[in-house]
Symmetry: C2
Subunit: 238 residues, 2 copies
DNA sequence: GCAAAAGTGTTCGCAATACACCCATGG
DNA sequence: CCATGGGTGTATTGCGAACACTTTTGC
């Protein structure tokens, strides 16, 4: 780290979060990804939609800031939170130099129903996005890429569902995120082989057909393919 | 992005880089990874060794700042440069709040010989590191993890070699980084199948045995497994 | 010709795919 | 009993690991 002193002009540090959830009609049909955005009230970019975020307070950690602003704007607690990338091109904001540390998060679908949504905070479907401020579209697409990539080698889909779920629901998440059809038989085997699912023994009644088994995610075997290391992966609301 | 105004106390933004190169005796024996560090002259952490870096100038991009400080401290140009992670725990620096955007880089082994090395800039072997300042050991270990992980699904080992190289040299890089023995036969096939190698037609004479073929990296087919997107992956010195 | 590395061929086992087939429930 | 999704069994394929084998040089 360099020496202090010689203050000079400095870039401002912001923390933003790309939040993913499933469309509320999770049980029925094919669910789709939804992202909450906030309407910018001031210049630059007033009127446009932007990622939730804020300036970084001096005494707050990056993860905490991401989780806090997520909670403040949506009223939700993330079930998964991870740093995405830091964007800092000199011209990404017209007026002043802003460097944004961006996180991405997943929230439980059963929480989405009681999420904040008003004229200034609105949830948009993945392929029905409004015009975004600054470079936020680029950021969002990068977050989508990361979500899709990570879903294929890590077990994070459960973070978009509730406490328990059927195999078909879990498959539905993968299909929605990856935008593909998956073979039910092979998907089941792959998931069972991963060792991250626990059969609750319960079955979901009320379906017009054979009642499916309900599974729970095994947090103990939640082997992060990531570093051993590093910050909080999951946290609660403040 | 939040509104300007309400300045208040702000964290300071630094950019640091973890630089990897092979030990100069690349041809012979088993090469090892080396990392240049700079000695801190001032408090906090005076006397200890730290990653090369500096405060981020207001008008300079993150990638440019990483490449520049790399060049200033080592005299080298990176053949590979990528953002690693942003570290920002409130207590990682004792005096003031510092957020560090950290990059990692690979440099050609044939450039290492003319690298700067004096009493304040010194290259350390991967498993002979001195005591590091701040959280730089944690950062370095994370960078090592990323290098090892990425080597297995991306073709970046060539960035540690010169313009042309033998199959054995390329394998030596993988073995040094991954710290494993690799089967020469299977390694060859895997590399040839990747389509990133071009046989120059030349052969390396002077070996005590059958002269091996010299290969070149095919920059055209350098498919980044990464985003389509995003900043410069390779750049020259300023 | 002999040692040693370069380079080729062959086999094995695993895991993902494709797809045929039985099971259980509501209507 | 039938339509439909839940759930199981099985053949095929592609790829990486293991390893036997041939080739080419310096000495």
């Amino acid at each position: 780290m360099p020496r202090p002193g010689e203050a000079g002009a400095q870039a401002r540090l912001a923390v933003s979060t790309v939040i993913f959830a499933l469309s509320p009609d999770a049980g029925a049909a094919a669910p789709s990804l939804r992202i909450p955005l906030v309407r910018r009230l001031r210049e630059p970019g007033a009127g446009r939609w932007a990622l939730p975020g804020g300036w970084l307070p001096v005494d707050e950690g990056l993860d905490e800031a991401a989780g806090r602003t997520l909670n403040e704007t949506t009223g939700l607690a993330p079930t998964y939170l991870e740093q995405l990338y830091t964007f800092g091109a000199p011209d990404r904001s017209p007026d002043e130099r802003v460097v944004s540390v961006v996180y991405w998060a997943l929230v439980h679908s059963d929480e989405v129903e009681r999420a904040v949504s008003d004229e200034n905070v609105c949830w948009f479907d993945e392929d029905d996005l409004p015009e975004l401020a600054f470079d936020h579209l680029e950021i969002l697409e990068y977050a989508l890429w990361r979500l899709r990539t990570k879903l294929q080698y890590s077990r994070i889909a459960h973070a978009l569902l509730g406490e328990t779920f059927t195999m078909a629901e879990l498959r539905g998440v993968h299909e929605a995120v990856l935008r593909t059809r998956l073979d039910p038989a092979n998907f089941r085997r792959t998931m069972e082989a991963s060792g991250t699912l626990v059969d609750t023994g319960q079955r979901l009644a009320g379906t017009p057909h054979r009642p499916p088994a309900l599974y729970r995610f095994d947090t103990a075997s939640a082997r992060g393919g990531d570093p051993i290391h590093h910050p909080t992966r999951t946290r609660n609301a403040s």
